[in-house]
Symmetry: C2
Subunit: 349 residues, 2 copies
């Protein structure tokens, strides 16, 4: 049976959870999916790096104590991302570090190093896909490897792959989505009577919102996701500046109450639509939706995308938009897709 | 390039629409999907049968006038389903006749004849899948052909195939669905103030409900769909009698009003759940859902299924539950899946 050797680049919540899944369910995954996974390299800003072509003891890696680094287990206290990615024996690089919204670094470089050294990549970072998607996809093709990124939008909820694989034979006219759980939570709490600042504070206390909540509430996060979906699914060929962006900080309690009385509800909607001339118009903006709109009932941290198709009309998928386990599953689903592409098989559980 | 020869068994709304799609978009489908479709046989209760291995002129078939039958074009005024299915040169049989809820006939025989003569089958009928699914799937495997039936549940909205292909690596604990548009429409109209009989009459006038609405409002239709999903997706191994059934005729305007005042809403929910001992409990019953439940906002003729998974929690897909074009697309999506299984390719548009 096939075993894929994988490298975990970044050992925070997502890749740690993937390691836990492999450690606790390894044999089950093997019998369910038809392949095994062996971790042969891990790098981490804090823990350093460890490369073991014969397979890393995951329980050791998951239980490194206190200020220990991989140096005490034959690795290095340095992260060494470039050399590890270039030289390790992994078939697949699982990239789950971080990304800045300007140029997508350092995730973009991690992906590029992997692809140019003939390794397939799955990433949960939006940056490489949104800002360098076409270049990196082309680099993967040139090197005969895969570049997968289901986790960049709505964590492990199948969205990108669903639209690519389940809508064959349909024309996709566009999509509308609720793509950020934090802003959706804040709008919901404002509907329940909180003012904007109190709702933000509550979201921060619950761990939904960052200390600086701008990326979520000002629509930057959704903007990147809309860009990804527009380019990947509508072949829009657009850039970040083409996605108009407005966040929810301009929505007042009065707006919320007025909508409520009119049987409507504010949502931060990211959308893209193909125009008659073939171009695509994309944006992020708060919208007052009627309560019977398919996205109006998407509450709290749940995310959803409604696809507008020619033969089926609207088809909507909703599910978790974030989460450690949910995002780790996105990486697993990417590896399953690579295996299916290689073998022509679709794994069933 | 591959061309699949197909036979249309039943030439009512669904297969006529498939023929129209092939006639009007044939070349586009070929370039989008990587294969062509040629209709080599059509049978119909009213029009008789026509077999032409070199390909039938679809505009002729779609425009047969008045009381004309295929006899005037070299065919027969008789339906001849058994002999046409057994002897025609089709690779794939598109079965869209009808099915009775007791033994699934005549659709079951159509499917069996096709599979035993080495032809793949796609059907939009629930009967063969719900009542003879295991037998027919096994017959297809023995004969090295495909048996596909996405259209049996929620027309062309990807549900069965979505769960089988997009949830690899997940454990499915169960599902809850709104699987009948007529009963959902009636409940919605009752919420708007109509009584049960008036809502049924309106649904009949709009063409949503049959003259005898029992199959829809008494839950028989949903019962078959729950049986299909439970056996196909949860490997439940259950029979029709194991799916407890209660329709919406017992829901009174008082029930509706009471729910409304409590911020709740009645829905006819079909569901199945895996029990700790591995068995599956399945049923159809009217349920009062809180308005923030993922299925509460599914209105009118829209259908939805919420899947309960281990790693992603709830993932819900909603879309059309019926319709000529939507169901014809289900057949096309089945053929696309057969092609993908054969070539390992997934067609993109």
């Amino acid at each position: 049976m096939t075993t894929y050797d994988i490298a975990l680049i970044g050992f925070g919540g997502v890749n740690r959870t993937l390691a836990e899944l492999i450690a606790t369910r390894g044999e089950g995954l093997r019998s369910d999916l038809g392949f095994g996974l062996r971790v042969v390299a891990i790098t981490d800003l804090r823990l350093g790096s460890l490369v073991q072509p014969e397979g890393i003891d995951l329980s050791m890696a998951l239980n490194l104590g206190g200020s220990e680094t991989f140096a005490v287990h034959g690795g290095s206290a340095d992260t060494n991302n470039e050399s590890v990615i270039h030289t390790c024996t992994a078939d697949i690089i699982c990239e789950a570090t971080y990304t800045n919204p300007e140029d997508g670094e350092p995730a973009v470089s991690h992906v590029r190093w992997a692809l140019e050294s003939g390794k397939s990549v799955c990433t949960t970072n939006k940056g490489p896909v949104a800002l360098r998607g076409a270049e990196l996809t082309s680099l993967a093709e040139q090197n005969g490897v895969h570049f997968e990124f289901e986790g960049a939008v709505m964590s492990g909820t199948p969205v990108i792959r669903l639209a690519k694989k389940m809508f064959s034979g349909l024309k996709l006219n566009g999509f509308e989505g609720i793509l950020n759980g934090t802003s959706n939570y804040v709008l919901g709490r404002m509907e329940a009577g909180l003012d904007y600042d109190a709702a933000i504070r509550e979201a921060q206390e619950l761990g939904y919102a960052e200390a600086n909540p701008a990326a979520d509430v000002e629509g930057y996060d959704v903007q990147l996701k809309v860009l990804i979906l527009a380019n990947e699914l509508l072949d829009a060929g657009i850039e970040l500046k083409d996605v108009k962006r407005q966040g929810i900080s301009t929505v007042t309690p009065e707006d919320i109450n007025k909508a409520s009385r009119a049987g409507r509800r504010w949502k931060l909607v990211g959308s893209a639509q193909r125009n008659p001339d073939g171009t695509v118009t994309a944006g992020v903006t708060p919208v007052e939706l009627p309560l019977d709109h398919g996205l109006a009932g998407v509450s709290g941290a749940t995310n959803a995308v409604a696809f507008d198709t020619d033969l089926l009309g609207h088809v909507t998928v909703s599910g978790p938009g974030a989460g450690r386990v949910e995002t780790a599953y996105a990486l697993l689903s990417d590896i399953i897709a690579m295996h299916a592409a290689k073998t022509g098989a679709v794994a069933h559980v």
